[in-house]
Symmetry: C2
Subunit: 490 residues, 2 copies
């Protein structure tokens, strides 16, 4: 059953009321709410994973790992807001000698935006859904969350939301701080609602762009943090190919078929030197020999996969290297093309095949690689497979232009949650310059407010000279960090 | 003469080429470019100010102050990028014991976006125009700038651009790093150009929104950092009114007529207790007795001012308190209304009068103020005039919701350039959650990139363990700041 317009309204209104209460709590209190949710998810893990297996066809160990990641993320974010890094507290004392003329006392910190709408993703029923990265970072920031369940795992979403709501309530969080809505009408109304101040989204480019446009067209436009996927091209140099061809092809096969290829970081294109086509095919066939096909996430995704593979396979200049299939549980497909073909039709490099398929591009000369990289759209990741002696500075620079994360001799699947993580990239990888993974994701849901000449007791705690919450403060240009800084290891 | 389409294209292409060279320079080198521009502006100050007086009708001392501010800003930003704060360098070493599973070595820092389009403002021919806050912060970030001159001071823009270009060249910056275009067709083409990656804008709500929509509708949407102005309401409590009525009215009169009321931070609304209308009028008349009217910035602005004042004056419930005029050099106008009237027509609080006019709102009961604040749209600033014993926590909370800077017993005109400054606010004050004044403005023109498992020598300098540029680094969750941190005083 889809949420009605009245239900959506009630959820947003309740979330707004809860936000107004929640932001009076300090980060220490809010951290305990996140930790209560983490504990709740751990307690209910067995039942939740069972439900997820049924609804998504993903393997149980993968889902257990994903739940572990989700729980860890909540605890990492709790730790992060206890440190107070997210406040970015900045204090300029009044200064009669300031270079442009006398300066008043001025202090700035970050406050939460308000109610955030979060859209669940099909391919991560835990880590990018009900209490995934967007919800966790919005709650950590001090926002309230109205979550739009993904239709692909609606029962799981409802059950997870019950766990979350019960945990928040038991921890003393205000009622309504988190709620769940379902169905497309509610999704659109969520983006339109005047009390909703930001959107977090993970999904397709078409769907994400439509909602981005909707958010931008509001009377009051709101930020739309959309993660729309990509191709995640991998570039193999001649030296790396000579030294580690088998290892590279094995790693590639493992990465593009991981989770049935249903990751936004799946390597969708591999650039290799021309001339060993048979060997590439044989190596890939060997590497995939024991691959156990499984059903894709949903019938809708399966149909999209079928169409994408057929479309690319039938493009001029593309042929089949490894003939998989598009059965209900599809065997991996590898297509093959040349650098000449993609130069004449760069669209070949822009077709995401969401599932266990990828494209090998043979190049004639390593000096082509920088130009080939220039044909790619914005990416979440790009990867270099290279040797110590390779001169790839120019190529790496080009890859930094078009992607959010560059890997050296690794594979892009597997996105750790940490301080330095950046999961985002130039459009169409994402619709903003932010990350949806890692502690920096919290910053998306904050905005700065400055206080001029306020008396000390009327200042928010992070801006008081006495610094009662012991947060980092930049004072007259110089950062002062608490001496009792936690060790930072979870 | 307006720039042709070919000239705009050539400017953007040259800017992009210059950007590709400029980003290879370290922040120390780029800082010397900013300092060269500052020195160039100082050298040419006399001629530039003379030209500005002619084109804008602003007073010479005001323009000298504005140029001083502009020069100071360039030096402050040079100092800021030398410190390396803007990199936000974050290093997570690999960690087999990381809570969600083994973590690879992952490092993130900020890189410049590319070519930035900057629109000059009518009312700040130096500080928000050719080499104003947007241009200075974009160059500091490592971007190139194509500046669209404001038609109101086009000769000055051309002359200032010559100074800037010569200074950059003499300092060794790549040719094309800064250029100037003119006219509306070039303005629109600038927002549309695929090589332009962000826009900085200061101007009207209507003009800004149209360009925001244009930027969002591009095949690749780009961030539009627009500062669109506002009302800057001031709230006077009963106690403050009793204690400092005369002082408050004198301060108000001075602030709303400063620079002929042509500031985006002009106090456009003053909430005072009802019952002393005659005294308010007499005090304001006294305070404005020696006011010397001057011409407004342009005939177009003058016409807009005339219409805005007439529109508000003719609104039901609004009457004239102090009868100014809309002559070529207009005398100040103060309109008067009541809290009842604005409750029934909140539009009264949403009409900016860009010029020397303001609105006094009489309220019956102090308990109304929070609700009245709730009728305001997003603001750059709001101000409290209150006494130590006043309980205004709820009102202050509401004001923080709707504004970017809160003042205590001050006046919003005068926006210092410093570390803690925040010049921005909820829409329609700005189109983003960022600031266009202060060192934080630099962050707008950067985006993060992460490097996974990169060998040390291939990492950008700010991410190397050896930290050759001596920048702040967050290492495994804990910030390490250079011991030789500069003192931070300019």
């Amino acid at each position: 059953m889809n949420s009605t317009a009245a239900e959506l309204d009630a959820s947003v209104e309740a979330a707004h009321a809860a936000f107004e209460k929640a932001r009076l709590a300090g980060p220490g209190t809010r951290a305990t709410w996140l930790e209560a949710v983490a504990a709740g998810l751990e307690n209910d893990a067995a039942a939740l994973v069972d439900l997820a297996v049924t609804e998504t066809h993903l393997a149980e160990p993968r889902l257990q790992g994903e739940l572990k990641r989700t729980v860890f993320q909540l605890r990492l974010f709790a730790d992060e807001i206890r440190r107070g890094e997210h406040f970015d507290a900045t204090i300029d004392h009044d200064d009669a000698a300031w270079g442009m003329g006398p300066r008043p006392d001025l202090r700035r910190y970050n406050v939460p935006l308000g109610v955030v709408g979060v859209f669940g993703a099909s391919n991560f029923p835990f880590a990018f859904s009900v209490m995934g990265g967007d919800s966790a970072s919005a709650l950590a920031a001090g926002c309230a969350v109205v979550h739009k369940a993904h239709d692909g795992h609606r029962e799981l979403a409802v059950r997870t939301a019950e766990t979350v709501t019960a945990a928040l309530e038991s921890a003393g969080a205000p009622s309504g701080l988190f709620s769940l809505v379902t169905g497309r009408p509610a999704a659109e109304a969520l983006v339109d609602h005047p009390l909703v101040k930001a959107i977090g989204f993970t999904g397709s480019t078409a769907g994400g762009r439509a909602l981005f446009d909707r958010a931008a067209a509001r009377p009051e436009p709101i930020p739309f943090f959309g993660e729309l996927g990509g191709i995640n091209a991998v570039f193999v140099t001649g030296n790396a190919w000579a030294a580690r061809r088998e290892e590279i092809l094995t790693g590639y096969a493992g990465s593009f078929t991981l989770g049935m290829g249903q990751f936004c970081t799946k390597p969708g294109v591999l650039f290799v030197p021309a001339g060993q086509t048979d060997e590439v095919r044989d190596n890939l066939r060997n590497a995939l020999e024991d691959f156990a096909p499984a059903q894709l996430l949903s019938a809708r995704l399966h149909e999209g996969f079928r169409q994408a593979v057929a479309g690319l396979r039938d493009t001029a200049g593309v042929r089949v290297l490894l003939d998989g299939d598009v059965a209900e549980a599809p065997a991996p497909t590898v297509l093959l093309t040349t650098s000449e073909a993609v130069r004449s039709d760069p669209g070949i490099l822009r077709q995401e095949m969401f599932g266990p398929a990828s494209l090998v591009v043979e190049y004639s000369d390593e000096s082509e690689l920088t130009a080939l990289a220039g044909l790619l759209e914005g990416q979440l990741t790009t990867t270099l497979q290279a040797e110590a002696e390779d001169d790839v500075a120019e190529l790496a620079g080009r890859l930094a232009d078009i992607s959010g994360r560059l890997l050296w001799n690794g594979w892009p699947t597997g996105v750790t949650v940490s301080y330095a993580q950046h999961h985002g990239g130039p459009y169409p990888a994402t619709t903003s310059g932010t990350t949806s993974v890692g502690t920096a994701a919290i910053r998306r849901f904050l905005r700065p407010v400055a206080f001029q000449s306020f008396p000390q007791p009327r200042l928010p705690e992070p801006l008081q000279d006495a610094n009662p919450w012991n947060v980092p403060q930049r004072v007259d240009g110089v950062w002062r960090r608490p001496s009792a800084q936690p060790e930072g290891r979870l």
